[in-house]
Symmetry: C2
Subunit: 165 residues, 2 copies
């Protein structure tokens, strides 16, 4: 397969994957482009390559930096800013896990904990509610713990764990 075709396919696939998991398609595509780049790219170059507006590129680069997976870089004697992403898949996975844990798992854990103190007349409903909420809380806490461990571990730990499966 030709390079340009493969590149297009990859960027497209990465964008679709992002969409399916609640990540803006443009953001995922910019990330894909940076993953493939052999050197940091300017906003201009990204606009050009992905046919996106300046504003869109700027906003999504900022979002990627918020996620901690893209870095801004200055070159001496140049005014333009360049952007790059880490190429280590392992680090990337850890960083994404860390952020999603913080943004989504923690809030739901808080809600699940809060609503366990439920009361009311309908004994049966209240009992069922408590049961569901507490089981979800227990399970989510465990998952949360696994992810926390994962985000703090090194690659080796993970591969060792894989062996045990």
């Amino acid at each position: 397969m030709e390079y340009s075709e493969a590149k297009k396919k990859f960027i497209h696939a990465w964008g679709t994957l992002g969409s399916n998991w609640g990540i803006n398609k443009a953001m995922a595509q910019i990330h894909a482009l940076l993953l493939l780049a052999t050197e940091p790219l300017s906003a201009e170059e990204i606009m050009e390559e992905l046919q996106m507006s300046r504003g869109n590129v700027n906003m999504n680069l900022r979002a990627l930096m918020d996620w901690g997976i893209v870095k801004k870089e200055h070159r001496v004697g140049e005014r333009k800013e360049y952007f790059s992403t880490g190429k280590d898949v392992w680090d990337l996975a850890k960083q994404v896990s860390r952020e999603r844990r913080r943004r989504e798992i923690e809030p739901i854990l808080n809600v699940l904990e809060e609503i366990q103190s439920v009361s009311g007349d309908n004994k049966k409903s209240v009992a069922e509610f408590k049961k569901v909420a507490s089981e979800l809380f227990e399970f989510s806490s465990k998952i949360d713990g696994v992810i926390e461990k994962f985000t703090k571990s090194d690659q080796n730990w993970f591969y060792k764990l894989l062996m045990k499966l």
Copy 2:
């Protein structure tokens, strides 16, 4: 906290969680309602409780059944259909993992595999491309394997695994 308030909060939180992870909010909310119900609910009851249209409820119930997490039930002497969801959090997680693996991980693995056969004049770019694609493929395959194992395992396996962490 009052039962009705807790219920509202839970349904809302579940819907938000779904949205963030690429699952239709209405679908997640119907699922939340069924999780809390002490007995199967009719489409009518779901419409009423969640203030949704008949069409929306019907479509999302179908989607939930496609995902294998909601079951349709008939009662003798009744024409209406009733819906329920399994209450076992463990089973739920396995089923969702199974489906997402099939729907999203497998397709991306296919793309990653396909694009590894890249060729082109720009040696450096092609080399970088191959490196990124193969590393992503390796990593994704491993994750895929873990999820497959998970979906085929029993709860006990998982808890034993947690101990090892």
